[in-house]
Chain length 236, copies 2
Amino acid sequence: MYAMTNSASTATRAPLEIRSRTASLAPAGEADPLDRLGAAVKFEKNRTIYFEGDEAAHHFKVRSGTVRLCKVTEDGRRQIAAFLTAGDLFGWTDLEFYNFSAEAVSDVTVEKYSRARVEESVKANPSLGRRVLTLLSTQLGSAHDHLLLLGRMTAAERIASFLLDLVRRQPGTGQGGASIELAMNRKDVADYLGLTVETVSRTMSALKRKGIIAFAAPENVQLKQSTALERLAMAA
Amino acid sequence: MYAMTNSASTATRAPLEIRSRTASLAPAGEADPLDRLGAAVKFEKNRTIYFEGDEAAHHFKVRSGTVRLCKVTEDGRRQIAAFLTAGDLFGWTDLEFYNFSAEAVSDVTVEKYSRARVEESVKANPSLGRRVLTLLSTQLGSAHDHLLLLGRMTAAERIASFLLDLVRRQPGTGQGGASIELAMNRKDVADYLGLTVETVSRTMSALKRKGIIAFAAPENVQLKQSTALERLAMAA
DNA sequence: CGCCAGATTGATACACATCAATTCTCGTGG
DNA sequence: CCACGAGAATTGATGTGTATCAATCTGGCG
């Protein structure tokens, strides 16, 4: 029962290329002191960055592209815990092993920090330690929001919350009628929201029929009436 | 749709009594250096220790009893993120506000630490900072496991996982035929597992009919065939 | 002894999953 | 430039796991 039809994760190991060390300047925003510690690594779409259970020897930051954090059961059911985009940190656990896998949703470049070097750096610069604390607190908060979504919300509410989350995390084109580029396919969305591909598709079509959203392409969603979406998403 | 029948949280504010400062010795286990920072506070069953959105001015540790962390929607749907028992820390966020409420499942005593004093103490003793990091990492891991449970598991699998979790966290009476005292009622279990009271009840009755568990009372569960339970719980 | 909240059980409804075709999209090669 | 093929997305028909609605049962307590 509830067996997923497709193989949940066709991701395979191994990075694509290693681009030595990066200059200390961040691509767009502010320069990040972390950057002088890291090395840029690229992963092709659907490659695994690390596996659940791997020794947690590195921490990461997304430089470009989208990363998903997920867990898969023996029988192929998959739950995605988060999607991460440029600037987001992941794999910053203090435990010995990663408790979920990280995979490239699109071609991605990540900054990879050796745990040992980060430790040192934290000793020298306590503000970094604080930053990690804030990071984990934030991630824990998101996870708890996600629990409410998975445990208690309807399909329509889940989709609405998801879309609104994406807009909020986007640089954002003002207000009236934001446009979202989905980096992930419907299966990924379904596995993030605890639904099936068909339900995601049907629910989005229903929103379209109601004039709440529109599609330029399957991966391009336009919010026509974000207030209607917000009403749907409601929840605390 | 999916509206919960009963009012989700009848918890009300205000602690019961304040027992000045505690001695520096932990009740049973090892002495905890934290204890010299804290004050013991008691809460009656169903009282709220803090609300989601309250300013996060304190961190806590459970001394005795059971605490639940939860979120409630406007229309009364509730999701419980965790149950905490003696020795468990909660409310250790680095953010300005708590992102979930903490409530007393039974009469509880908690140790309450002022955030400011903890900050100081961390400066003096970095190992405490590390401990908080480990705590948050662990909680994040649990939350991710919980996501998989809520997003992708059947009622039977959720119940099985839940019961096994409880046994593992218990001092534990050897192996063959552990006995669990549920501190929480069926509604709490349902809200933790993303189910209804009826489904929890029916699923547990089914397990009983199969001889996998047995009840001395509704709140006393005995694991007759924990291997059968483990087979049910499976998942990574 | 009777009340009442919590738990269980039963009957039924429905949201979403499953199974099964289309239809769309886009890269590739003729 | 357009036909072709393959994977992704959508749509349709149907099934089912769990919610909902509704008693009934149980155990603690005044």
